[in-house]
Symmetry: C2
Subunit: 234 residues, 2 copies
């Protein structure tokens, strides 16, 4: 197996934290401004959650937007400077914790369960099943896991339609980014395989579209566990 660039992935979010925080807060990412921010916010609010976990919360915009709607939010991210940026604006409980730490020590999330767990363009590593299993275990009986990611039609027509590591150089966001970011692209079927392996089914898929071209800008899964038995998720 190829060397996994997981460390470079984590490191990029330390090195680019300031540039990323500015890009998000200044609304420089067109697809987010046009469609995907409101899509994920709307998807979460549709379930009228009391308590939400934002996994890979970054500088915290989604937590703040949910807090404005009186939702209790916990945001976790592996990047120290991003968590500090989130804490500086408040709106929720922000904790620096890596996805590996969540997978290995689920208790690090506390004892609470959640009506919704969100991963907004946050599942960037190849191995995600152990993390998904922990997130599933923290869903309340009717809770949902909401994942927004790259649309399969945007995986690149020049390449095979297949899973694999890609590189984001953030060139579209100006020259402040100091490191490129490796990220693991997944086909639609690979996404449902990973969810299935973690005991989740897909209740719905949304496809936020560009308001003018009507082309899909992202893919948004609403996943859930399939029922409960004696009060426990099965």
């Amino acid at each position: 197996m190829e060397q996994e660039p997981t460390d470079e992935l984590s490191q990029s979010w330390e090195a680019n934290a300031a540039a990323w925080t500015r890009a998000v807060r200044e609304g420089r990412i067109e697809s987010r401004r046009l469609a995907t921010d409101s899509a994920v916010l709307g998807a979460v609010l549709r379930y009228t959650p009391e308590r939400v976990l934002d996994v890979g919360c970054g500088e915290g915009w989604l937590c703040r937007a949910l807090a404005e709607q009186d939702v209790q939010v916990m945001g976790v991210d592996g990047s120290g400077p991003l968590i500090e940026a989130a804490q500086s604006l408040g709106g929720g409980q922000f904790v620096r914790v890596s996805f590996e730490e969540i997978a290995e020590t689920p208790a690090i999330l506390g004892k609470d369960s959640f009506d919704a767990v969100v991963c907004n363009f946050a599942l960037l590593d190849r191995e995600i099943i152990p993390l998904l299993c922990v997130l599933r275990s923290r869903l309340r009986p009717s809770g949902v896991l909401i994942i927004q990611t790259v649309h399969p039609c945007n995986l690149g027509n020049d390449a095979d339609y297949s899973d694999g590591w890609r590189t984001e150089d953030f060139a579209a966001l100006g020259g402040e980014f100091v490191e490129s970011m490796p990220w693991y692209a997944r086909t639609l079927s690979s996404w449902t395989d990973e969810l299935g392996a973690a005991g989740l089914v897909v209740a719905s898929i949304e496809e936020p579209r560009h308001p003018t071209t009507k082309q899909p800008l992202s893919l948004l899964f609403v996943a859930m566990h399939c029922g409960t038995k004696d009060g426990h998720v099965v």
Copy 2:
């Protein structure tokens, strides 16, 4: 609302029945030969079903392939000449019944339930929720509904990414087809909306690919109801 071309859709499968039967039996449809026939057959067999309902069975190839694996199959189709073509080769119980009749009079399917219900490129009309509700009600507790359809990345880049009526002229299959066929294209999110409205969730999605170009040739949903209670599907 625009005039629905449902009658033209049904009529095309009467008028083109002989041409279609030859095209299928002579293996003239490249995507089917390369990937999608084996994909749907493999998907059904993976659930080791005892009894399968093939909805929109056409001239019956899938029923025959399943019968060869000792699966009991019932095939239904709205086209009289296609059902006659299926009956002429045998392999299952073939019944001429339209999708509207199934939706309005579910008892027309008999009293049996099924381990798998298959719709292989068969859901071509706009309104499918009433049919899906009936099919769901005929699933055994751990039964699956398998739907193969057009991949979202193949809905046409020149058009909006949106639902709508399209026209198939069968030009790629030679000159024997006498009528074009209206069919209703759906985005990925519309598919999951329709399934959700019928009480179904998506357990997995497969994307059969072209063996050389690795581009997706179809989308294959495995849908299920979410659990049972007191032996009844909920």
